[in-house]
Each structure stands twice: as structure tokens, then as C-alpha cells.
């Protein structure tokens, strides 16, 4: 066995041996102090026994109402409704508990009751669990006083959402109860709390949720409330969440939803001066009131499983489409800015005989950019685009320049404001084509589909609306956003989250003027003018058709008036064919409704036609 030495540092006699008595003495004194204290607390005084017997304090949570949402004109779009949750403490449910009477009272069958009671019991016999949720105020009032007959039963009031106009489901989002998964990630929530699941409810959760309050009551050994603890002096009142004023015009939103009924597609209308979203419609939609109350989960599953209409998807921001000819406005601007064309540069068009992209429109030739926009001439924009790409030392550089402009306009990227479930879309870049064709394996003619907004490019309706707003503003935009102001009741602070930052596009103002004239001619000189001739308003627009494996999608972007526009809009009607036929009248009605408050009597036939159109089976 190994010999262990002390290294010779220790003296033969351990001179500090007697310190063990000091240590033992110190420990003994500490233990005696504890024992004296315990004896005083446990034996000498009866104060704590009485406190334990009579003064069991129960903390009740007082749930705050979430903040309300108003539209830009002050209309209440999201309000709150009081409902009641009934809680049960299983320990007090014995043979004397009249189950049938109780079940009749809260309108529940006895087997469900027993099943739920068993579940509560498994969770805890001593803690109260919710047995019935969201009983409406009307149903509850008649049962309230009778509930006191039942030991172990109490209730808390809560608020749930109500949507007076049934509008804006995709924008507003919904509120659900927190689940185990959510709780794991959010320490400041507890079981039974609600949180915003989608839409603005999700984005602005921290403002909307408010602060929980607490009420302490003294309960006796039968868990019955005796009195408020300390006369309620320590109770904390619940604080309602902050209210929000939206950029949405509820009137226009409702009108847009009406126009898009029985169609698939979306409308996005933006106020070009502020970037505020005036209306954002995704069709088919649903009534937001469906996702409230006791039918919430059932209705949610129904909407989720509708794989044909997919009503839960917000097509306005999550739906991606090739922009089609609407993108000619953008390509025209880039061509002018890069100097590959000027306002007077003309290209020839051979009409249907044009190659490789034919032109289906019958118009003058050769023509410059303004008439080319009016006539939506494919060969003109194909040539202009190829000029851009081959203007630089190699197509890679050309495409990169084009890409940069696209990103500056908000294409291929998310706006990242307060819009839920945004899709960035897709602007193909050199990496993309190098992967596809190999490096050096492509040139301007390979990617010419981009010139007319076809091919690999994908954009969302909100990006197109923003394009319209940017052209209307002649080169700048404020990122599209939904909330104008958040008003905190406790501090009276008002926050304006997204109204200031102006984004520039790097394209000169004069080029926008050129493109605007092309768009004005399109709206006033072509067949579409039937719809776009709105009394007293100079409308600018550009149609588009997005090629699709099924029937093509109709697209239209527009802004009005021509100078200092008040509304910019993008409309997509899926599977409806040519842009002018379906998307233009929808946009026209929206613009007229917004700017003139009503549809001129001479034009009501258009509204009627739109409303009667059905593009889904």
C-alpha cells in the first residue's frame, strides 16, 4: 500500500487541536439559536396556528382586457366581450355535490362533466382548474347567484374578442389560450393566459396583452371566500392593453371584401403619403368571429382543412405570383435610369410576328417607352431589358444592377414592418442562374422572360401595391404597415411605429414622370378606360397577366390621382384570365369608392358586374 506523507510541514504535535472545541461550540450555538426560534414560533405562540386555520389566502388572477383596435376613421374594428370561466376545486366535490343540478346550470352533460372532473383531479385535487370556459354574459347572469350553492366552484370573468364588422380577419389575427409549448418559451405567461396567435394580435402582443391584476381573498377551510385580504389594499388592478389605431379604412376594407366574394385573389390598397395600408383583402376569407369563443378550435380546424380554398392564408402577403406586364413599369424605370434608353428611344414591334416574344397588341411601330407602356408592348420591353443586362461588362453585372433596383423597390425582400406571415417573393439573381445554367451558361436573351414579368420571378400583391405607390410618389415610399398609432392608457403615451422612414429607389424623378404618363395613357386611352374613367379623378394604371398552369391570373396596379396620389392599389384575381377584364374593374371600384365615397350612378353597372362575377367553383 502506498505510503502517504504529510511532506514534513506538520509538526509532531498538532498545536491547533483544541480549536475543534471552538468549532463545536460555534456550531452548537448556531443550532441552539435555530431551536430557540423554532420553539418560539411553533410552541410558544399560537399566532401562526390561527393564521393557518383561518387566514388561508387565495390569490385570484384578474385578467386584463386586450387593447382595442380602431380603423383610421375611428371605427371600432376589434372590441372585447365579457365571458366567464367556471373553475372547480376537485377536493370539495363529494357525494353531496348535486352534479345534475350543476350541469343543468352550466349547460353541460354529466358525462362530459365527469370526464373533465377526472382530468382536473389528475392535475391537482387542491388547485382549481377550469371546467367550463367562455360562457357568454347572457347565459351566465342567470346562473351567477346559484353558483354559490356549490362548494368548490367559483368563476372568473375574462374578455374575448368581438369583431363588429366581421372584417379584416387576416389583418387582425386571433387570440388563443397558451399551450405547454408556448409556456416553455415564455416565462412571463402562465396556464390559462391568452396570447395573440396570428396577425396584428401576434405582432403587437406586448402592447395588446395588458397587465394581469391580482385579487387576494381570505378563504376558510372549505375554500369559500370569507373576505378580501387586508381590505383589498394589496390588490392589483388589471391594466387593459394599449389601444391601436390602424391605417386601415374599415369602410374600404369591407367594400373590398364584398367585391372579392366568390373570387380567389387579393387587393392591397396603400396610402402613398404614409405607407399606411388602407385595405388588405385576401379571398376567400372568413369571418373573424369564427375564431372566438367555445367553437374556436372546431372552426379553426374546419378552416385549416379546407385545402381547396385555403382561407387561412393571407394571399395579399403570403401569395406569390409572377407580376406579368405590371413589371414593365419597373423595367422601364431601370432602363431609363441606367441610360440604355431615353424617353425618345424607339424599338420596332412586329406584332404577333415578333420573335422571340410576340406582341398580342395591335399598335403603332416603332414606338417609345410611353406608348409601349400604354400598349404593353412585349418586344419593346424585351429589347430594353436585354439592353440593361448587356450594358455592362458581363450579364452577371447587368443582372446584379437590375437586382439591386428590384430590392430597393421592396421586391425579393420582406418589408419587416408589422405584417404577419410576409413572403419575400423571389427575384432571381446571378447565383440562381449560375446554378441553373452553369457559370457563363446564360446571357441576356436567356433570362428575357423577366422583361415582361414572367419566368422565375415571384412577387406578392403587397409588393405590387408598393410599386404603384412608389411610382405615384415619383421615387420614394414609406414601408407598408398596418398600425398608425399605439395609445397606452396608463402612460398616455402614443407610439407611431412605422410612419417616418422614407425609402428612396435611386431612380430620378423625371423617369417616374415618363412612366406615369405611360400609365395615364393606359388608363385613359385603351379599352380599360371604360372602367377607369372615374369622374374627377385622373387614374394611372398597368395591367398584367400572370401565366399559370391553370387559367391565368389577372393583375392590375394603379394609383390615383396622377399627381399627389391618395391611393395606390394592386389587385389580383386568380384564374380569371386577362388582367383588364377582372382586376381592372375591382381596382376601379375601390379607387372610386375611396376617393369619391360612392360609385357614380353611371358606373354602378360595373359594381354589379363585379359582385356577380364568380371565379371559383
Amino acid at each position: 500500500m502506498q505510503r502517504i506523507t504529510d511532506g514534513g510541514f506538520f509538526m509532531k504535535t498538532d498545536i491547533f487541536q483544541n480549536r475543534k472545541y471552538l468549532i463545536i461550540g460555534f456550531i452548537a450555538i448556531c443550532f441552539i439559536v435555530i431551536l430557540i426560534r423554532l420553539f418560539t414560533m411553533q410552541v410558544l405562540t399560537t399566532k401562526y396556528i390561527n393564521l393557518a386555520k383561518n387566514n388561508a389566502i387565495k390569490n385570484l388572477v384578474v385578467y386584463p382586457a386586450r387593447g382595442e383596435m380602431y380603423d383610421r376613421t375611428g371605427k371600432l374594428m376589434v372590441s372585447n366581450n365579457i365571458v366567464y370561466d367556471v373553475l372547480i376545486t376537485p377536493k370539495y366535490i363529494d357525494s353531496t355535490f348535486d352534479v345534475i343540478k350543476f350541469c343543468n346550470l352550466i349547460n353541460m352533460d354529466t358525462s362530459t362533466f365527469n370526464e373533465k372532473l377526472e382530468k382536473c383531479r389528475r392535475y391537482s385535487r387542491y388547485k382549481a382548474s377550469v371546467i367550463a370556459t367562455q360562457i357568454s354574459k347572457e347565459d351566465f347572469l342567470s346562473t351567477q347567484e346559484l353558483l354559490y350553492q356549490f362548494p368548490g366552484i367559483y368563476y372568473v370573468s375574462r374578455t374575448v374578442r368581438q369583431y363588429p364588422f366581421s372584417s379584416g380577419a387576416h389583418i387582425l389575427g386571433d387570440v388563443g389560450e397558451v399551450d405547454a409549448n408556448f409556456l416553455e418559451k415564455h416565462e412571463d405567461y402562465s396556464l390559462g393566459d391568452y396570447h395573440g396567435v396570428r396577425g396584428l394580435e401576434f405582432t403587437y402582443e406586448k402592447y395588446l396583452k395588458g397587465q394581469k391584476g391580482f385579487r387576494a381573498i381570505i378563504v376558510n377551510s372549505a375554500n369559500v371566500e370569507v373576505a378580501p385580504y387586508n381590505d383589498g389594499k394589496d390588490d392589483v388592478e388589471a391594466i387593459q392593453g394599449a389601444d391601436m389605431i390602424l391605417e386601415i379604412d374599415n369602410d374600404l376594407q369591407c367594400y373590398g371584401e364584398k367585391l372579392m366574394a366568390n373570387k380567389r385573389g387579393s387587393i392591397v390598397a396603400i396610402d402613398p403619403n404614409t405607407g399606411g395600408i388602407l385595405a388588405m383583402v385576401s379571398a376567400p376569407g372568413f369571418d373573424p368571429n369564427m375564431l372566438v369563443g367555445r367553437e374556436r378550435s372546431q372552426n379553426y380546424l374546419k378552416l385549416l382543412h379546407d385545402s381547396v380554398q385555403k382561407p387561412l392564408i393571407n394571399r395579399a402577403v403570403s401569395g406569390v405570383y409572377p407580376p406579368g406586364s405590371t413589371f414593365k413599369t419597373f423595367n422601364g424605370l431601370v432602363a431609363l435610369q441606367t441610360g440604355v434608353i431615353d424617353e425618345y428611344t424607339q424599338f420596332t414591334c412586329n406584332g404577333p410576328a415578333s420573335s422571340p416574344i410576340k406582341c398580342t397588341h395591335n399598335h403603332q411601330t416603332p414606338l417609345s417607352v410611353v406608348p409601349a407602356l400604354r400598349e404593353s408592348c412585349n418586344p419593346f420591353f424585351r429589347k430594353a431589358f436585354e439592353e440593361i443586362i448587356s450594358h455592362y461588362k458581363n450579364p452577371e453585372t447587368g443582372l446584379t444592377v437590375w437586382n439591386e433596383f428590384a430590392h430597393k423597390f421592396g421586391f425579393g425582400v420582406k418589408f419587416n414592418t408589422d405584417i404577419f406571415s410576409e413572403n419575400p417573393g423571389m427575384i432571381p439573381d446571378t447565383t440562381f442562374y449560375n446554378k441553373w445554367y452553369g457559370k457563363g451558361g446564360w446571357k441576356s436573351s436567356t433570362i428575357r422572360s423577366l422583361s415582361i414579368g414572367q419566368g422565375e420571378i415571384q412577387v406578392t400583391p403587397i409588393q405590387l401595391a408598393n410599386l404603384a405607390a412608389t411610382i405615384g410618389n415619383e421615387g420614394t415610399y414609406i414601408k407598408p404597415h398596418l398600425v398608425k398609432a399605439i395609445i397606452d392608457h396608463t402612460t398616455n403615451d402614443t407610439i407611431y411605429p412605422y410612419s417616418n422612414e422614407v425609402v428612396t429607389t435611386g431612380i430620378e424623378k423625371r423617369h417616374f414622370d415618363t412612366v406615369k404618363r405611360g400609365m395615364r395613357q393606359m388608363a385613359s386611352m385603351t379599352g380599360s378606360r371604360v372602367y377607369l374613367d372615374i369622374p374627377g379623378v385622373e387614374v394611372c394604371g398597368k395591367t398584367g397577366t400572370a401565366q399559370n398552369s391553370g387559367k391565368n391570373h389577372a393583375l392590375f396596379i394603379s394609383f390615383a390621382p396622377m399627381y399627389n396620389p391618395k391611393i395606390a392599389i394592386a389587385v389580383i384575381v386568380e384564374n380569371s384570365g386577362y388582367g383588364a377584364t377582372f382586376a381592372v374593374p375591382v381596382a376601379a371600384m375601390m379607387i372610386e369608392h375611396y376617393l369619391n365615397d360612392s360609385i357614380d350612378s353611371s358606373r354602378q353597372w360595373i359594381e354589379k358586374r363585379v359582385l356577380e362575377t364568380t371565379t371559383i367553383e
Binding site: 506538520f10 487541536q17 414560533m41 411553533q42 393564521l51 393557518a52 388561508a56 416565462e187 394589496d234
Partner: protein
């Protein structure tokens, strides 16, 4: 003697093991009771915390057995590597630890988590014992003593980074083995004096206190004025005391967090807020105080079950025991701890190897600090400091690490005849 040399088990101090088992079983039963919800479950029913604790206890026993079977000289030989390993764990937790209520104290090892600060306790004890026993302590120059303090300070520093002030405080317990090995008595008295000054300074007005200290020192001077150099000593004591009072005030206002300040003020009775910051302590005191002579009976407690007492199965486990077994049970528990500590001191004193003796005192110090701080906080003698009651509180890391801490010493003790001093 020959028998004891041959068989590990014959030379084990079974009384210490018995006390250990009493505490562990008490813990499992109390945990069961603290979480009991009236169902027909038993202590070992699946899904109960008492069952988990029993599993931890079984694992701990297996580890204890392994320790007993190891070569006794290994603990001294591998003291530094073990210390290094536990420090690495402390460093690792700062990087990969899971943040739970603001502190990174736990490493998740897929399926189970461990708390490195618990393991650092025996790691540091081994390193301190090894250094002091090989390099000496008393009579050595400060530079020679310095590494001992660095071993301890490194642990404290790493744990404070988590931050976990409660676990860090336990490392101050190394003052006990160091005191036994010759750490200056005057310094210990000075430390106790400064602690007393600190507590009183929070209770009374600083200027009145300074006046009182001045008066007392003046009286001291009058009595001892014949002694040489007394004036200088008294002036130094006065300056240090005044400086300390202001430094403490500054530290209290600037270093401590609000919740720590509140806990201290509640303990000192300066804040009476039974619904807010004082809620935990108030409920804990009601539970313990309502136990009376013999308590409400096993599983019959009311205060600790309805969530009136927080952390009722971990740091506040004593509440359940005191509520259900009353003063009698509380007294018995304290008696078991006291007996264990005295037994460990006796065992330490009979060691021939300084390493084993010092290690024994490290164990005494760590266990004593845990018990004293934990019980004191539940009855309001100390601010709420979140550390477990050894062997009793729920928690695998704590039980396993404390078992290792104890059984290394039991092994060293069983091995003492093989060491030639």
C-alpha cells in the same frame, strides 16, 4: 486491526452512514408529502417527485459504493484533476448552460440536467485539502497560502457569474477547515465583528452607530490605556469600522439587486410586506409555526400543499416537515444534523493524514453552512438564500454531489489505518 485493514466494509463508520440514510429517507417522505394531492398514490408511484428522488438516492448509493471500492490514495493523488474538472464544468455552464429564472446554473445533458456548482463543492474541498496538507498553511508566508484562497475564489467567481449568489456563499464555509489548520483567530474575530457591524448598520442609523462605536472604543481605551500601542489599535478599529459602514451602504445600494435588498430588509423586519416581497417568508413562517408540538401529522399539512409556500419540495422542504411533525420533528431533524456534524468532527480528528483531516473539516463546513443557512431562511433568521437542505431537499445534482462529498470522507476514514503518518 487486521480485519479492518482487509475489508473496506468492516472499517466503514456505519453510524455516519446510518445518519445519512435517515436523512435521505426523511427527504423522500417529506418530498412525497409536500407534493401529495390526496390521490391514492404511494411514495414510489410513477410520476411523483418522491419517486424521482428515490431514483436519485439509488443512483447516489451506487456512486457511494463505487467510492468505497476505490483505492483510498486516489483522492489525494487526483485531487487537483478532480478540482480542474469541476471548474471546467463551472466554466462550461456559463457557455452552454440553460438559463432558468435569470441564472445559468444547469447543464442539460439530454434527458437530465446537472448543476455544476454542487460538484464544485467537493472538487474545491479536495484541492484545498491537498494543498494545505502538502504545502502547509500555518506559519507559511502569505504568498504560499495564497493558492488556497485562489482555489476557493475561483469557484466563487465562476458561480457568481451564473449568477447564483446562494451557492457561492457556501464556499465561505472553507473558513472552518482553515481555522482548524491555524487561520488567525484574530482575523476570524475581525470577520465576525464586521459581519455584526454590517447587520447592525442596516438596522440603525449609521451616525448613531458610529457614535456608539466611538463611545465603546473610548471606554476600551480608558480601561486598557496602560497597554502599549492601544491608541493606534483603537484608531485603526475606528477607521475600519466607519469605512466599512459606508462601504457597505454603497455596496448595498449599488451592487445588490433590488430583490436581494428586499429579502434582506424583510429578514431584518425593516419591510413588513406579507403580500409582496415578504410573501414567501410569511407563508413559510405560517407553515412552520402552525406545526405546534407534534405537527398536523404525515400528509396532513395544509399550508405547504395549497401552493402557499413556494419551492415547497426544494429549498423550502423544511416547511413541510415542520408543519407536519411540529417542534418534535424539527428538533429531531436538527439533532440528526448536529450528531452527524459532531460525528464528522470526531472522525476528522482521528485521522492520521492531514489531508483526510482537512477534507473532513471541509465536509463539516459545507454541510453546516447548508443546514444553518437553509433552516435560518425558512424561519426568518436570514434572508432568503436559495440553497438546498443537504440530503433532504429534492434534486438529483444536490443529492448526488453531497453524497460524493460525504462518502469520500467516509472512505478516507475507513482507509486511515493504511496511512502511515
Amino acid at each position: 486491526m487486521a480485519d479492518k485493514r482487509n475489508s473496506v466494509f468492516a472499517s466503514i463508520d456505519w453510524f455516519a452512514v446510518f445518519l445519512y440514510i435517515v436523512l435521505v429517507v426523511t427527504g423522500i417522505l417529506t418530498i412525497f408529502s409536500s407534493k401529495y394531492s390526496g390521490d391514492a398514490t404511494s411514495v414510489l408511484s410513477p410520476g411523483t417527485m418522491s419517486r424521482s428522488q428515490a431514483v436519485y438516492a439509488a443512483i447516489s448509493l451506487v456512486v457511494a459504493l463505487l467510492i468505497l471500492l476505490l483505492e483510498g490514495s486516489w483522492f489525494q493523488r487526483f485531487a487537483y484533476p478532480v478540482y480542474g474538472l469541476t471548474m471546467l464544468m463551472l466554466a462550461a455552464v456559463l457557455v452552454v448552460g440553460d438559463e432558468i429564472s435569470g441564472a445559468k446554473s444547469w447543464i442539460n445533458l439530454g434527458g437530465f440536467s446537472i448543476q455544476p456548482s454542487e460538484f464544485a463543492k467537493f472538487g474545491t474541498a479536495l484541492a484545498v485539502s491537498k494543498y494545505v496538507s502538502t504545502k502547509g498553511f500555518y506559519g507559511q508566508s502569505f504568498m504560499k497560502q495564497l493558492p488556497v484562497f485562489l482555489f476557493i475564489l475561483l469557484s466563487i467567481a465562476l458561480i457568481m457569474l451564473e449568477p447564483d449568489a446562494g451557492s457561492a456563499i457556501v464556499f465561505l464555509s472553507f473558513i472552518i477547515p482553515l481555522f482548524r489548520e491555524g487561520f488567525s483567530l484574530s482575523l476570524v474575530i475581525a470577520i465576525l465583528y464586521l459581519i455584526a457591524v454590517s447587520v447592525i448598520a442596516l438596522l440603525v442609523d449609521k451616525y448613531i452607530m458610529i457614535a456608539v462605536i466611538f463611545a465603546l472604543l473610548l471606554i476600551g481605551y480608558v480601561i486598557f490605556r496602560k497597554n502599549k500601542g492601544i491608541l493606534l489599535t483603537i484608531i485603526v478599529i475606528f477607521i475600519v469600522s466607519v469605512g466599512w459602514i459606508f462601504a457597505e451602504q454603497w455596496a448595498f445600494d449599488n451592487i445588490l439587486e433590488q430583490h436581494q435588498r428586499n429579502r434582506i430588509m424583510v429578514t431584518l423586519g425593516k419591510i413588513e410586506d406579507n403580500r409582496g416581497v415578504g410573501y414567501n417568508l410569511y407563508q413559510s413562517k405560517i407553515a412552520i409555526g402552525s406545526g405546534h408540538w407534534v405537527g398536523k401529522g404525515f400528509l396532513q399539512g395544509t399550508q405547504t400543499k395549497m401552493d402557499f409556500v413556494p419551492e415547497q419540495h426544494t429549498d423550502f422542504i423544511f416547511c413541510t416537515l415542520a408543519e407536519e411533525t411540529g417542534f418534535l420533528g424539527s428538533f429531531l431533524l436538527m439533532a440528526v444534523y448536529f450528531t452527524l456534524l459532531i460525528k464528522l468532527i470526531m472522525m476528522a480528528e482521528r485521522q492520521r493524514s492531514p489531508f483526510s483531516r482537512i477534507y473532513g473539516y471541509c465536509v463539516v463546513g459545507i454541510l453546516f453552512f447548508h443546514v444553518f443557512i437553509n433552516i435560518s431562511m425558512t424561519i426568518g433568521l436570514m434572508p432568503v438564500i436559495g440553497i438546498p437542505l443537504p440530503f433532504v431537499s429534492y434534486g438529483g445534482s444536490s443529492l448526488l454531489a453531497t453524497t460524493i462529498l460525504l462518502f469520500i470522507f467516509i472512505k478516507l476514514d475507513a482507509y486511515r489505518y493504511s496511512i502511515l503518518s
